[in-house]
Every structure is written in C-alpha cells, then in structure tokens.
Symmetry: C2
C-alpha cells in the first residue's frame, strides 16, 4: 500500500479497510450501547456529547462550501446544509437530535448550552472543523468518507437500542432513519470525488490519512464517554453528571 | 450621532445616510456607464472585474453561515447560496453574470480564470470576505446592508445601458432582474437583525463603520476601473486590455 499509485478501485478498497479497522462501530462504548448494557444516564451522556458534533456539522459543511471553487460543487455540498438545518423551523438533523435528547429526559436549554460537554468532545469536534478549514479541499472532502460506514453503525444502534431499552422509542430515534438515505448519497459523492481527484501517491496517502484522522475523532469521542461514564467513571469537573451518580 | 444609543429608527436612518453619501451609485464610473458614455471595451472591463465579486459571493455567504449559531439563522442566510449558485447547472446569479460577459464578447475561460483582473479588484473583494470571516457576526451581517441601496443602482444601470448601448440586450442583462426581488428580501432580513442586535453604542457604531467599509470596497472597485480604463487609462501590467486599445 505504501508509495505506489493506487487504481480507483484500490483506493476505495484501502478506504473501506480503514473503516473496517478504525470506525467507531468497533469501539467498546458503541458495543455496550447497542447490546443494551448502558443505563439511562450513560445514554444521556452520549446524546448530550454527540449533540455538539451534530450542531457543528453545518459549520463544517459551510466551511467547506466557502472553499469549493464552482457552483456545481457548492450545490452538491449544499444538500448537507438542508439535511442538518432542515427547510423549516424544527426540521432537519439537529432538530431531530434534540428530540432524542428530549426523549432521554435531558433539559433542552442545558443541551443547547453545551456547558455539560466533556472537554474531549469539544476538542475532537473542533479538530474536525479545523481540518476541513485548513487542509486541502481533497482532504476536507475525504474526511467525510466515514459516511461510507454509517449505515451499519446506525442499523446496529437503532436495532439494539429499540430492542434493549424500554425507555427508547422509534420516535426518539427519528434522527437516524433519514440518515440511512442521506449518508450513502453523500458518501457516494465524496467517494467519486476522491477517486477522481486523488491522482498522485501523495494525494492518495493524504486522503487515506485524513480518513484515519476522522475515525480518530469519532473514536476519541467514545473514549471520552467511556472514561467518564463507564469505567473508571472519572467525570471531569464541570461535565454532565447523570442524576443518581 | 456620536456616542449615544440610537433607536432602531435612528440606526436605520444613519445606515441609509451612509448609503446616500458613499454607495457606488455616486461614483463617476457608474454615472458614465448608465449615461451611455463608456465604450464596449470599458464595459467589458467592468463586467470582467465585477465577475470576481460575483463568483466570491457564495464564499462570503458560506463563510458567514459557518459562523451563524442556529439552524434558523443559517436557513435564512442559505437562501443567498441558492440565489447565486442556482438550483441546477447554469442557473443562479453567477451563471447569469457569465451571460453578461458572454454578451459583451469576453471569452468565458478568460473570465473564469480571473487572470485579467485589476489587482485592486482582487484586494477589495478579498477584503470583503476577510471582513465577514474576522469581524463580529453583527458586523458581518451589517456588511451586507449595501443591498438596501442596490435596487436604485440596478434600475439606473439596466435602464441606462439598454437605452444607450445598442450592443446590450435585456437578455444580456438578465442577471439584474431577479436581484430586484432578492436584494430587498435579503436587506430586510439583515436590517431587522442589526436593528435588533446592535444594542450598545459600540455595537451600533461598529455596524455603521462596517457599512462604510463595505461601501469603500465597492467604491474602490470602480476607482480601479476608472484609473485603468477611463482616465488616465493606466492599465496595470497583466490586467485585461480591451481590443483596439
């Protein structure tokens, strides 16, 4: 894999291999979640921290749109703004995520304030936005390729959570269903772009590296939750404390 | 005007006063243009340079969207991306501007390359984007308030150009008609925002200052055209040279 020029099929295979090894579907926290082994407070902590990722996604996408050179590329990427911010008040991915935090019993103003975040969550998400702002456009687009792997994790998450937690309803998990269509459409665009535009060994390695970095970002978010809320249960000062803890 | 807190009506009046004094509708180059006193090469230079402003507008808007804190604000501002990039290939403001440069006989690849720009054009437009990126959100939104004044300049420009240049058709000027609806709608949103959010004398002065700066940016673009293509006719090295000059 090192050094030579990959064919488009080989780069796709290398990207998928990174997902198989590094996507956060492999993280112990995710496994506990879909196996029904978390309590309500731990799920609240997950939804609260993940909200920060959700609410910063339009900033990430607009940051990239600001860098894209043509109306055609910007239009293609603009779809993501619609997906996350919606087309009317209380529609779109962020609004649907807030129905999840509502459903888990979190105070909405507290969620919106982001004051209870784990610091690692903030660092990781902000690193994602900085990456999209500062690296090449090719790498910025490549960083979104974790969407190639999200249908699997969503299916595990939704299926497992509905089966294993009686306080979670399909309505509460309404965020995820549209993502099963949106993410593959978005991933297809990004994958076609990197297969076409990563034309030198250096560019190809940069795309593979950035996907590893993006996987690290998602992984770190679950690491932070594990350390704080599973074991050893070290909640950093100022971060969300589930009631009863 | 200096120092005290203005009422919402007073701040609107102060903003409109800045437009009356500083908007580029007062610039000699604009007056020559709508009075029919420019030749085809001078109009080409104007359209070529103004293309750079047009093509950077979505970058400006996406830069602001990336900074806006709520889905509601981002959705409101997103309309501008649709206006300029369109909803399909060859639609939207940028595509319509290219029909203007086509109609004036400029090679499209040359226009798209932006290699013939006056350096001042690039500096001024890039200063606009930097301002939207670096100043407060209130000032970034305030910088768009030149749209309050654009219907008048568009009416003068379109009416004067159709009446005075036999090589210009209504189709060539197709860019401007939708702007007569879009600009007031956008300006109304921005004006309401600054009237609501500029709540201290310092914030109000910042909004007035940024509108002056934005007027300076537009004014500088016409200054550059005047110096290079009207009098004394000093075209900088590398910039567009009309045929016959």
């Amino acid at each position: 894999m090192s050094g030579g020029l990959l064919s488009p099929d080989e780069i796709e295979a290398a990207l998928r291999q990174i997902g198989a090894e590094r996507y956060h579907s492999q993280h112990p926290f995710h496994k506990l979640m879909y196996q029904g082994k978390l309590n309500r407070g731990q799920l609240q902590a997950w939804a609260l921290n993940r909200y920060y990722y959700q609410c910063r996604i339009p900033a990430k996408d607009a940051t990239l749109i600001a860098r894209l050179p043509t109306p055609d590329l910007r239009r293609a990427w603009r779809r993501r703004l619609h997906d996350h911010d919606g087309d009317a008040p209380d529609t779109g991915g962020i609004a649907r995520w807030l129905r999840l935090t509502d459903g888990l019993g979190l105070d909405r103003d507290y969620v919106l304030s982001t004051t209870g975040l784990l610091p690692i969550t903030r660092f990781a998400v902000d690193a994602y936005i900085a990456l999209v702002r500062d690296r090449s456009i090719l790498e910025a687009i490549g960083s979104c390729l974790t969407e190639l792997f999200s249908p699997t994790i969503i299916a595990e998450r939704v299926g497992g959570m509905l089966a294993n937690y009686d306080f979670i309803t399909a309505d509460t998990l309404g965020y995820f269903k549209p993502r099963l269509d949106q993410a593959p459409q978005d991933a297809e665009f990004a994958l076609a772009y990197v297969k076409e535009h990563a034309r030198t060994p250096e560019q190809q390695q940069a795309v593979l590296d950035v996907l590893r970095t993006k996987c690290d970002i998602l992984w770190a978010m679950l690491d932070a939750l594990y350390i704080a809320y599973v074991e050893p249960g070290m909640i950093p000062p100022g971060a969300f404390v589930p009631s009863g803890v």
